[in-house]
Structure formats: structure tokens, C-alpha cells
């Protein structure tokens, strides 16, 4: 079994199956069963099939590349960094397969193609995405049953005061869901940045569809547009980054690819990764030659002018001078810009600090959508892209990323503290967890960040589904009306408890814990080692630790308010009921995974191990380099597993989490502290948090209002000047046309009419010949005969005188 041919086949099929179901539902959805009920079956079947294919791919991968146990302790034993340096330098290229299925466009240096880049990360991502998607499909089949029949939207009031009534959109929901799965998997499997960008936009469109699923609601359509526009901002940066890369390096492929070039000669095209971290430097980061030349364009021009006579000389000359230029620092800015640009895209998609405002509003969509799109997969796509792009990032870019992540996680956590809408809480927790991931990547924890991505995918989707189940039962999002639901819906309560524990990283220190325990610990550890390496940046660790505390607090605040204590709203609690089995089953499955996802099987297999296997070349070593922001040290990740740091981090995490849970319990269970009192005491901060740090207002003041002003100005110019001008032109044309029409009517038509009337008169006159008098006809006939005969006798006399 050749993985190079098998894996693309399996994963490609797994990728395309949702597209098939999308097309099928698109054309035949409403006709699938009553009200398109069967479309759910179709979509679910498709995603389950792709799950099976992904699992097959995983099996194939493991059979080819068995995972060796990650032996932290061995590293811990050896305290000499040099050795580890040597080891890390000896680290080989991670196993990866890449290729192109189809070339969209190839001209000059530009090659846009649909291709694949498959390594352990890809395989894992496939499995996780398809698994969660399957669970959520099944869940949604039960959750969306309202859409099976005509749906009356009680939140939409028509002008006549009645409620908006529309036919159900069951099949449309699953159609968008299938399209989303297809796009997401497309991002995961993509072999080059261009393809990633395409599917990046596709998932954007899907999230627009799904957020605006109830587009009759003003809030929903606003949220959809907001999400889309905010993402555009990030994508703009991403385009800049892509342009920088392509303009300088002439390729967007990650891996090296070989193929006939324009001249038709089979040539090897180095990919981004090998360009930035070439073999020559043992995969150490260096500014690629292309960027150097691009940056030193003026020098290159001089040299070419000097050797105008013999171009080959200039080529060799340039080749010789490149290293000097690199040393002089040419091209660093370019590389920085490229990294920042791509990161901008991730900021938009992953709702990082400046652009996170869209995610809370995105909760307007149906809860399964929130679970799948806006917590587990799509928002994680940014982190995934960062992971995929990690080798290209320079240390200062990483620093930016780290700070962005830190700010985001703290900020979102503070807002989550005071939010009362259950989904809002989860949304902000999502943002802060994404902040965690970014922070981890920024501080050099490649494995840690992606590890948290996977674990978070499991428990956050679990949490969302639980909240959906609660909402399904209570028909409200407001936690203040809930409470005491644990008795009526035990399954939901239990699974949600599991989710909360997982997200706060609960576990018995050094022994075992839920999935969050491992990922969050490794993040904290990496942050800690980073702040030790760079004391000036030790705030990052503080932010991470505080974030952990806040996370624990608001998560359990949520759980207590929802399930514990006495019901606050009798009406709701007595109508509350456990959700149908079709919704509970996914909860259980996800809960189990939320528990075990972080474990390492005996033999060393585990998500972390597989990620370790996929680690990009040259990122395992500690890098100390002076860059734009002065000297910076990115500690190697395995150093964070060194006992001291690791234990500190673990204890810190445990302590903060426990503190958070205790505080929540004091406030909402034992009622030692009254939340209202606390809110009263910290009134300004409370309102500040409550108002989400006034971010929307801020953006409104900074961007929206000016944009609106400019727009109104432009429209006034349009109406006042351009339209006037055009109207004037039109008016002139109209006058001219009037003259033309006059000519037409009088002259041309006159001519035609004259002809017509002449014909008419002639006809009328000739008509009199047609008297209808038989006798006259007879006379005419006779006269004609005689005339003919006379003529004949005149001209044919000979024949007559026969």
C-alpha cells in the first residue's frame, strides 16, 4: 500500500463526499422526503462516509509512520542544551506527501492548483473535523426539527404586528452544513496558500449563510454581514501577505513540487517551507534569496547595468552578493510583512483581539452551527493555518502573535465573566481559548497550540451542544431564567459538567486529567519557559494564568446558574425536558472524547505524539536571534517539559482553576458572596466588561461612522454631481432625440406615409373597377378577348392565314 497514492485518494474522497451531498441537496433537497426530511440523512451519511475514509487514512498513516513515544523525561534527564540542540538539528524533515490534482492556472511563475499537502496534522485534522461534524449532523437532525414544518418566527414582527410565517428550511440548513464541511476539509487538505485562500473564503460564505440562517431577524442578518465584513479586513491582510510571498518567491506551495516549467523541462520547484528553511542551513530560518533580491532590487539593477554586455556574469555576481545582502538585513521586513499578513487573515478568522467582535454576534445562528462552525472548526482554521505556516514566521512575528493571543484571551475572559446569555459566555470562552492557542504558537509552543486546538474542538463543541440542548428545552438563552435543570435533564447536565471540567483543565496533577488538562498545561509551561527566557515578556505567563482562573470561574458560573440551585423561572423549569436521544447520543460521544482526547495510549500513541511527528523541520530548537524588536529567544518546546517548569506550570494551572471553581461555587452555590454585591462594588469595571469594553462602540466611532460619513459624502457627490452630470447628458440626448424624432416623423414618416397613402388612393380608385356587377365583368372579358385577338391578328397574321 503506497501511502503517497493512497492517502490523497482517501482524503480526497473524504473531502469531496460532502460536496456531493451539497449538490444533491441543492437540487433535490426539498423533494427529499416530507419537507426535505431525508436531506438530513443524506448530509449525515456523506459526512459519516468521509469520517470513515478519514479513519482509514489515519490507519494507513499509522501503518506507515508508527508514532514513537514522546519521551519527555529523557530530555528532562539531559540538562545540556547543546546536545538537544544537536539532536534538534539532526531532526529530519517530517513525513509529508504533497501533489496537485488539478492546475487551475499556470503562467510565468504563478501556479494556482488544487493540490494536497498531507502530514500527520492533516490526517488528525480530518479525523477530528469529520468526527465532530458527524456528531453535530446527528444532533442537528433532532435540533432543527422545527424547520420540518412551516415555521413561525416569534422574534420577527411584521408591519401588521403578526409574526413572520415561512416554510421550513430543513434541507437548506443541511445543504449549507455540507458545503461548510467540504470547505473546511478543503482548507485542511490544501497544498498551497492560494487554495487555502479559496476555501478560506468558502468557509466565510458558509458561516455567512449559517449565521444568517434566520435572515428575517434583523439581528441575524446584521451579525452575518458583520462576520463577513470583519473577516474581509483580515483577508485583506492575508492577501497582502500572499502577494509578498508570491512576488518575492514566485510560489505559494508549501512543499517542493516538481513539474515541467514553462520551457517544458522537468524542474524542481522549491516550496515555501524549503525556501525559508533550506537544507543548507539545517532548516534554520533564513530570509530566502528571492526576498533578498526583491528587497535589494536597486542593487540588482546596478549590477545588471554594469554587466549589460554579459548577462550571465551579472547572474553569477548577484548570486555571490546575495549572502552579503542578507547579512545586511535585506528582506527581513518583507518576511515580517508576509508573516504578519497571513496572521492578519488568522486574526480575522480566529477572532483575535482587534477583530474578535464578530464571533459573539455569530451566535445568532442555530446552536449546532455555533458548535461546529464558530467553536470547533472554522475559528480553529486560523490556528491551523498558523501551525501550517509556522516555519515561515520570524521570531518577531511570533512575538506579535503571542501578545495578540494574550490580550485576546484576557479580554474575552473578562467579558465572559459578566455575560448572562449562555451562548455568549461560550462564545467569549471560545475567543479566549483561541487566544490561548495563539499565545502558545507565539511563545513557540507549536505542539501545545495545536494540541489545545484539538482538545478544545472536542469539549467546546460538547459545551455548545449542551447549551443547545438547554436552549432547546428552555426556549431561552438567558441563564438568569434557568437553574436547577440538572434534575430534569441529567444527561445534559452531566455531559456539560464534563465539558466544563475539560475546559478548565481539571485533573489530578501529574497523574491524569481530562483532555484540557494536558493541552492547557503544556501551554502554560511553554509560556512560563518563554517568560523565563525573556523576562521582559513575562506578562504573557501572567495573562495565561489569569486567563485560566477566569476560565474556571465563568465556566462554573455558567454551570451552576444553569443546572444547580433552585429553578428561577417556574414556567421554564416545568416545561424543561431532556432532549431526544438523537441529541443526547452525540453529547455522550463528545463527552467521552473530551475526557480521553488528551491521553497517550500505552505505546506512546496520542494526539500530542502525532503532532510531535508532524512538527516542521527546524522548529524544535531554541532560537535566539536579534530581529526588528531587538534580541528575542524562542525556547525549544521540549524545554518546557523540563521538570521544574512543567511542575510549576501544572500547579499554577491547578491552583488557578481550583480558585476559579471555588469562587464560582461561593457566589452561586453557597451564596457566601452575592454576585449583585460584587457587581455593585466593582460597578465601573462591571459595566465596562458588560459593555464588552465598548469595542463595538469604539469600532463604530473609529470605522463605521467615518465610513458611513464617507459613504454619505460619496453618495451626495454621486447624487449632486455625477447624477446631475449624467442627467444633463441625458437631457441633451433627449433634446437631440426630440429633434431626431421630429425629423423622423416629418420627413421619414412623411415619405412612408406618402407612399402608403398613394397606394391607398390607388387601391381605392382601382376598387371602383371591382363593381361586383356581373355584366360589367362579362363586358371586360369580351373586350379583353377581342383585344387579344386583334393584337394576335396584328402580330401573328401568318398563323391566322393558315
Amino acid at each position: 500500500m503506497d501511502p503517497a497514492s493512497t492517502l490523497p485518494l482517501l482524503l480526497g474522497l473524504a473531502w469531496l463526499t460532502p460536496l456531493v451531498s451539497f449538490v444533491a441537496i441543492l437540487f433535490f433537497g426539498p423533494r427529499m422526503g416530507p419537507h426535505g426530511k431525508s436531506s438530513a440523512g443524506v448530509a449525515t451519511a456523506a459526512i459519516v462516509v468521509s469520517l470513515a475514509l478519514s479513519l482509514a487514512a489515519l490507519g494507513t498513516w499509522l501503518s506507515v509512520h508508527p508514532v514513537q513515544a514522546v519521551a519527555h523525561d529523557s530530555h528532562a534527564a539531559s540538562d545540556s542544551h547543546a546536545d538537544s540542540h544537536a539532536d534538534s538539528h539532526a531532526q529530519p524533515l517530517p513525513p509529508a506527501y504533497s501533489g496537485d490534482w488539478y492546475t487551475l492556472y499556470e503562467g510565468g511563475a504563478l501556479k494556482l492548483s488544487i493540490g494536497w499537502y498531507i502530514d500527520a496534522l492533516t490526517v488528525l485534522m480530518f479525523v477530528v473535523v469529520t468526527f465532530i461534524a458527524s456528531c453535530i449532523h446527528i444532533y442537528a437532525a433532532g435540533y432543527m426539527h422545527d424547520e420540518l414544518h412551516d415555521f413561525t418566527d416569534h422574534t420577527v414582527h411584521l408591519t401588521d404586528g403578526s409574526h413572520f410565517h415561512r416554510p421550513g428550511r430543513f434541507s437548506r440548513f443541511f445543504q449549507s452544513l455540507s458545503l461548510f464541511c467540504f470547505s473546511m476539509l478543503g482548507i485542511v487538505i490544501a497544498g498551497n496558500l492560494a487554495m487555502i485562500f479559496i476555501f478560506w473564503e468558502l468557509v466565510g460564505i458558509c458561516s455567512w449563510f449559517l449565521i444568517g440562517f434566520y435572515y428575517e431577524r434583523q439581528s441575524a442578518s446584521n451579525a452575518a454581514n458583520k462576520a463577513f465584513i470583519v473577516n474581509r479586513v483580515g483577508d485583506f491582510g492575508m492577501i497582502i501577505g500572499m502577494m509578498a510571498l508570491w512576488g518575492a518567491l514566485g510560489t505559494l506551495h508549501f512543499a517542493d513540487s516538481s513539474g515541467p516549467n514553462a520551457a517544458g523541462i522537468e524542474t524542481l520547484r522549491p516550496g515555501l517551507l524549503s525556501l525559508v528553511r533550506p537544507e543548507a542551513t539545517h532548516h534554520a530560518l533564513q530570509v530566502p534569496d528571492g526576498m533578498v533580491k526583491f528587497a535589494a532590487a536597486d542593487r540588482v539593477a546596478e549590477i545588471t547595468l554594469d554587466h549589460a554586455a554579459r548577462p550571465e556574469d551579472s547572474a553569477s555576481e548577484i548570486a555571490n552578493r546575495v549572502d552579503d545582502w542578507r547579512a545586511m538585513g535585506y528582506g527581513r521586513w518583507l518576511l515580517f510583512v508576509a508573516g504578519i499578513g497571513i496572521f492578519c487573515g488568522c486574526v480575522g478568522k480566529s477572532a483575535q483581539f482587534p477583530l474578535f467582535v464578530w464571533l459573539p454576534d455569530a451566535m445568532e445562528g442555530p446552536t449546532p452551527v455555533s458548535a461546529l462552525v464558530h467553536s470547533a472548526t472554522m475559528v480553529a482554521a486560523g490556528v491551523f493555518l498558523m501551525g501550517r505556516f509556522y516555519p515561515v514566521l520570524t521570531p518577531d512575528v511570533l512575538l506579535v502573535i503571542a501578545y495578540t493571543g494574550a490580550i485576546t484571551l484576557f479580554l474575552a475572559a473578562t467579558i465572559a465573566l459578566v455575560a448572562t446569555d449562555i451562548k455568549q459566555v461560550l462564545a467569549y470562552s471560545t475567543i479566549s481559548q483561541l487566544g490561548y492557542m495563539m499565545l502558545a504558537l507565539g511563545v513557540g509552543g507549536w505542539v501545545a497550540g495545536l494540541f489545545h486546538l484539538f482538545t478544545h474542538a472536542f469539549f467546546k463543541s460538547l459545551l455548545f451542544l449542551c447549551s443547545g440542548s438547554v436552549i432547546h428545552a428552555c426556549h431561552t438563552n438567558d441563564m438568569r431564567k434557568m437553574g436547577g435543570l440538572a434534575k430534569v435533564m441529567p444527561w445534559t447536565a452531566g455531559t456539560m459538567l464534563v465539558g466544563c471540567l475539560a475546559i478548565i483543565g481539571a485533573g489530578v496533577p501529574f497523574v491524569i486529567g481530562l483532555s484540557g488538562y494536558y493541552s492547557k498545561d503544556s501551554i502554560l509551561a511553554q509560556a512560563l519557559s518563554f517568560s523565563q527566557a525573556n523576562p521582559s515578556h513575562s506578562i504573557l505567563f501572567a495573562a495565561a494564568a489569569g486567563g485560566a482562573f477566569l476560565t474556571a470561574f465563568y465556566m462554573f458560573r455558567l454551570w451552576f446558574m444553569t443546572f444547580a440551585g433552585q429553578p428561577r423561572d417556574a414556567h421554564i423549569s416545568e416545561h424543561a425536558h431532556e432532549s431526544p436521544r438523537v441529541m443526547v447520543a452525540p453529547l455522550v460521544a463528545l463527552a467521552i472524547l473530551a475526557i480521553v482526547a488528551g491521553w497517550s495510549l500505552p505505546g506512546g500513541f496520542g494526539i500530542a505524539a502525532m503532532l510531535e511527528q508532524a512538527r516542521p523541520a527546524g522548529t524544535a530548537a531554541t532560537v535566539t536571534s536579534g530581529y526588528l524588536f531587538g534580541s528575542l529567544t524562542i525556547p525549544a518546546e521540549h524545554e518546557s517539559h523540563v521538570g521544574a517548569i512543567h511542575e510549576t506550570a501544572t500547579l499554577a494551572a491547578f491552583a488557578t482553576a481550583a480558585a476559579g471553581v471555588l469562587l464560582a461555587a461561593m457566589m452561586y452555590v453557597w451564596r457566601i458572596l452575592s454576585p449583585l454585591a460584587v457587581a455593585w462594588v466593582f460597578r465601573p469595571i462591571y459595566t465596562f466588561f458588560k459593555q464588552r469594553w465598548y469595542f463595538d462602540e469604539l469600532y463604530g466611532a473609529i470605522f463605521v461612522q467615518p465610513v458611513l460619513g464617507i459613504a454619505s459624502l460619496a453618495s451626495s457627490i454621486d447624487l449632486g454631481v455625477i447624477d446631475k452630470l449624467i442627467d444633463g447628458i441625458a437631457w441633451t440626448a433627449r433634446q437631440l432625440a426630440g429633434i431626431d424624432a421630429w425629423i423622423d416623423r416629418t420627413l421619414v414618416d412623411g415619405l412612408v406615409n406618402a407612399t402608403a397613402s398613394a397606394t391607398w388612393i390607388a387601391g381605392v380608385e382601382l376598387k371602383k373597377l371591382q363593381t361586383g356587377h356581373l355584366r360589367q365583368y362579362v363586358m371586360f372579358i369580351v373586350i379583353g378577348t377581342v383585344a387579344m385577338f386583334v393584337l394576335a391578328s396584328l402580330f401573328l397574321r401568318s398563323s391566322l392565314a393558315a
Binding site: L766, K768, Q770, G772, L774, R775, V778, V782
Partner: protein, 128 residues
């Protein structure tokens, strides 16, 4: 051809006209007169029946010519003859004339029913 013609002047007359066998031309003259009177009848009569009669006359004039050309008696030396065709055509003409008369009469009766007159000059409903 008449040996006794020289005997008296009247003999000339007799021999000139009455004693000569008739020729095709005589028949043609009769046919011409019938035909012409028929045509004039059609052209002059305002009575629909008069016009029908005119048609009959015209057909008869034609028939006379056919018979004359087909007659074995008038077949002079070297004069072309249409043989039996003359009689056959005349026969068909007569038959069709009868049919025509029947239909024309029916039409006339209808005309009379609708316009309560047979004045053909008032049958100008289709005038231009």
C-alpha cells in the same frame, strides 16, 4: 357544279347558295352568332335567369363548332377533322351545362330567398 345553272338567272342564285353543299364555315358562322348573342345576353340582361340563358347560348355556340369540326359530312379534302372528339366534347359540354344550370338555378333561388330579387345588379355584395 350544276349543269342546269346557265338556264336561268335564278338558277345562279340557287346554284350559288341553295345548291351548294354547306361547309364548315357555315356552321362556324352559326356558332359565332349563337355565341355572340349569348355573350350579349350575359352582358345586357339584369335578370339572373337571363344570364343563365346567355350561358346556355354560349355553350351551344361552342358546341356547334365542335360538331362542325367533328362531322364526317363536312370533312373536305385535306381539311383537318377532329373526328369523334367533336361529338364527345359536345356531349360532355352538354352534360356539364346541365349540371351548371342546376347549380346556377339553385344559387339564383338562394339569392332570391336572401335578397327577394333576381336583379343581378343588386348582387354586388362583394364589390370592391
Amino acid at each position: 357544279m350544276n349543269p342546269t345553272a346557265p338556264l336561268c338567272a335564278a338558277g345562279f342564285f340557287a346554284s350559288g347558295v341553295l345548291s351548294d353543299p354547306v361547309s364548315v364555315t357555315h356552321y362556324l358562322v352559326v356558332g359565332a352568332i349563337l355565341f355572340t348573342s349569348g355573350v350579349v345576353c350575359m352582358a345586357v340582361k339584369r335578370n339572373a335567369l337571363g344570364i343563365l340563358m346567355g350561358i346556355e347560348l354560349v355553350l351551344n355556340g361552342a358546341n356547334v363548332n365542335f360538331i362542325a369540326f367533328g362531322s364526317p359530312y363536312l370533312r373536305g379534302e385535306g381539311s383537318a377533322s377532329i373526328g369523334l372528339d367533336g361529338e364527345a366534347i359536345a356531349l360532355f359540354v352538354i352534360l356539364l351545362a346541365a349540371a351548371e344550370a342546376a347549380v346556377a338555378l339553385a344559387i339564383t333561388l338562394n339569392f332570391y330567398n336572401n335578397h327577394s330579387t333576381v336583379d343581378i345588379d343588386q348582387a354586388d355584395d362583394l364589390q370592391g
